[in-house]
């Protein structure tokens, strides 16, 4: 009996090991995507003498939510701002490497930055509606970018954007009231409506829920999930549960490096790197 068993066991052990090898060969920091909307290769950012990002290579998959997590100061917001050249406005900031949107280098000198930011919109941590009416907040982008030619077209864009942002039913009777009079969660959805009014392809969100209560947060998360069908989303969040809930892929940043990136589920159940493990499980690391 024992003799019969041994070769069987040996073969089963062999079968077990083979797939294991393949996985470790891929390495922890697998930042590539099969269907990238944006790609970055070896991105380095310096603020004066400080080396804020070190050789980041990460793809953002089309119609996917990519979450960037990591401790404060790890460079995740810096990386996010590289994706629509928001770092350009910071004095002493130098960016090296390559960032592409649909195979087009966004740091190409001939590129119109304003056009880029229409294609790659942004939502910030604190809701920052303009001190204008709800209607004008959403209409502002389409007006300056010439998205709508007539008043009717503009109205259609505004209504459509507010509907997509899940805010329409709450504000349809008070479009002329100031946007700043809305609740925090409504203001944030107004900012999302404002961002999608110019039909961007990518939406960057920098901690969009950190100033909101759990109900407003849940609404934004639901919205993010719906928006994914039409947009590509990159979200920076300190809330790891949120990253786990809303994203398909997650990248973990630490001290300016991208430690690990991969499918969210795998990263949260079986992270490959000890630093990722330490961070997501709340251990000193």
């Amino acid at each position: 009996m024992t003799e019969l068993q041994t070769p069987m066991a040996a073969e089963a052990a062999k079968n077990k090991k083979q797939p294991g090898k393949g996985e470790t060969g891929a390495g922890p920091a697998a930042g590539t995507s099969k269907t990238p909307k944006m790609t970055s290769r070896d991105v380095n950012v310096h603020y004066g003498t400080a080396h804020a990002l070190r050789g980041i290579s990460l793809d953002v998959g089309v119609n996917e939510v990519t979450a960037l997590i990591g401790p404060s100061g790890c460079g995740k917001s810096t990386y996010l701002r590289c994706l629509n050249r928001m770092n350009d406005v910071i004095e002493g900031c130098r960016i090296q490497g390559e960032v592409k949107l649909d195979d087009f280098d966004i740091y190409d000198p001939s590129l119109d930055v304003v056009q880029l930011r229409a294609r790659v919109g942004m939502v910030f941590q604190k809701p920052n509606p303009f001190p204008k009416s709800i209607y004008d907040n959403v209409a502002y982008g389409p007006r300056i970018h010439g998205v709508a030619n007539t008043k009717d077209e503009l109205e259609e864009v505004v209504v459509n954007s507010l509907q997509r942002a899940g805010l329409w039913d709450e504000v349809k009777d008070r479009l002329s009231l100031p946007g700043t009079g809305l609740s925090g969660g409504q203001q944030q959805r107004l900012c999302i409506a404002r961002a999608i009014a110019v039909s961007p392809e990518v939406i960057l969100m920098d901690e969009p829920c950190s100033a909101l209560d759990p109900i407003a947060t849940a609404k934004i998360e639901e919205l993010i999930d719906e928006l994914r069908a039409n947009y590509t989303i990159v979200i920076v969040t300190h809330n790891m549960q949120q990253a786990a809930r809303v994203s398909q892929r997650t990248a973990f940043f630490h001290l300016g490096e991208m430690v690990e990136a991969g499918e969210t589920e795998a990263l949260f159940t079986n992270p490959k790197d000890q630093r990722t493990l330490g961070y997501i499980t709340g251990r000193y690391g």
Binding site: M1, Q5, K16, A244, N270, T281, R283, Y284, G285
Partner: protein, 279 residues
């Protein structure tokens, strides 16, 4: 958990350690229940068998504690990665361990019945199989405490040996029953005892799979090694009987072969008041 840094929130570490400690305790209790049951069988010791039956509530209570604690940690801490695997593993292992305890009780109950009959010869073959399964159970809980995936994998492979031994015991017992109809009662009890022990081996294998997942985050690949072919086993005499010579004992044997084997596990489950989840 072992070899890892501590959580920033220390009470979380305490809770995880507590769960792991309870599992280790459950393992120890299940091992001792099983070994007492086998001793009681080998020595025809009804007192010991009675103690095994009564001691099962301790294991049931511990399982409930582990369940409550793991549910609390899931609700309050939302664990991820290794912590999540730790909790899920504890939950599953507690359930398998409790089942091992139930099967030990079944063995003890069968022992009580057997002790009212004259000693049967093959009673020695069953303890031999039990010894193998005891070693497997022990190594399984050692693998848990040591967080040793290799050891768990080794245990996992050894289950096929138990299955083969069970199949051979099954044939042996059928033969005894055919030879002497008076052996049918004790042999049937022994058959159930053997099936219970084989099921203990299966639960140890489940635990080994869970330990492998706990340590590596990956499931053991490939199908489980199977050596139990008793579900398909018939004894040759039975076929001769069907062929025409029609003497009563062979027929009895053939019937036992077709009806007792696949359902032996579920039949014994009712002994502990708890049907096994799988056969």
């Amino acid at each position: 958990m072992q070899g890892q840094q501590e959580h920033i929130v220390k009470s979380f570490d305490d809770q995880l350690k507590n769960v792991a400690h309870q599992i280790a305790r459950m393992g120890g209790m299940a091992e001792s229940q099983f070994s007492s049951a086998v001793d009681a069988l080998a020595r025809r010791d009804s007192d010991l068998a009675g103690r095994v039956v009564n001691a099962d509530t301790g294991l049931d209570g511990l399982e409930q504690q582990v369940e409550e604690e793991t549910v609390r940690i899931l609700a309050l801490r939302q664990p991820v990665a290794t912590d999540l695997r730790e909790i899920i593993a504890a939950f599953k292992i507690a359930s398998d361990t409790e089942r091992i305890g139930d099967y030990a009780v079944n063995v003890a109950k069968r022992t009580l019945a057997l002790n009212q009959l004259p000693p049967a010869q093959p009673a020695s073959a069953v303890p031999r199989m039990a010894k193998l399964v005891q070693a497997i159970v022990k190594d399984t809980f050692d693998a848990y405490v040591e967080r040793d995936a290799e050891k768990a994998l080794d245990v996992w492979h050894r289950d096929a040996e138990v299955d083969e031994m069970y199949t051979s015991l099954f044939r042996e017992l059928l033969t005894y029953m055919m030879e002497d109809p008076r052996a049918i009662t004790p042999c049937t009890h022994l058959l159930f005892v053997a099936k219970n022990i084989e099921r203990i081996g299966d639960h140890a294998t489940n635990i080994a799979e869970t330990i492998h997942y706990l340590v590596t985050g990956e499931y053991i690949e490939g199908g489980r090694p199977k050596g139990d072919t008793s579900s398909y086993a018939v004894v040759e005499h039975g076929q001769e009987g069907e062929a025409g010579d029609g003497s009563p004992p062979p027929n009895a044997g053939a019937n036992a072969g077709s009806s007792a084997s696949p359902d032996a596990g579920s039949g014994t489950g009712s002994d502990a008041g708890n049907g096994p989840k799988d056969v």
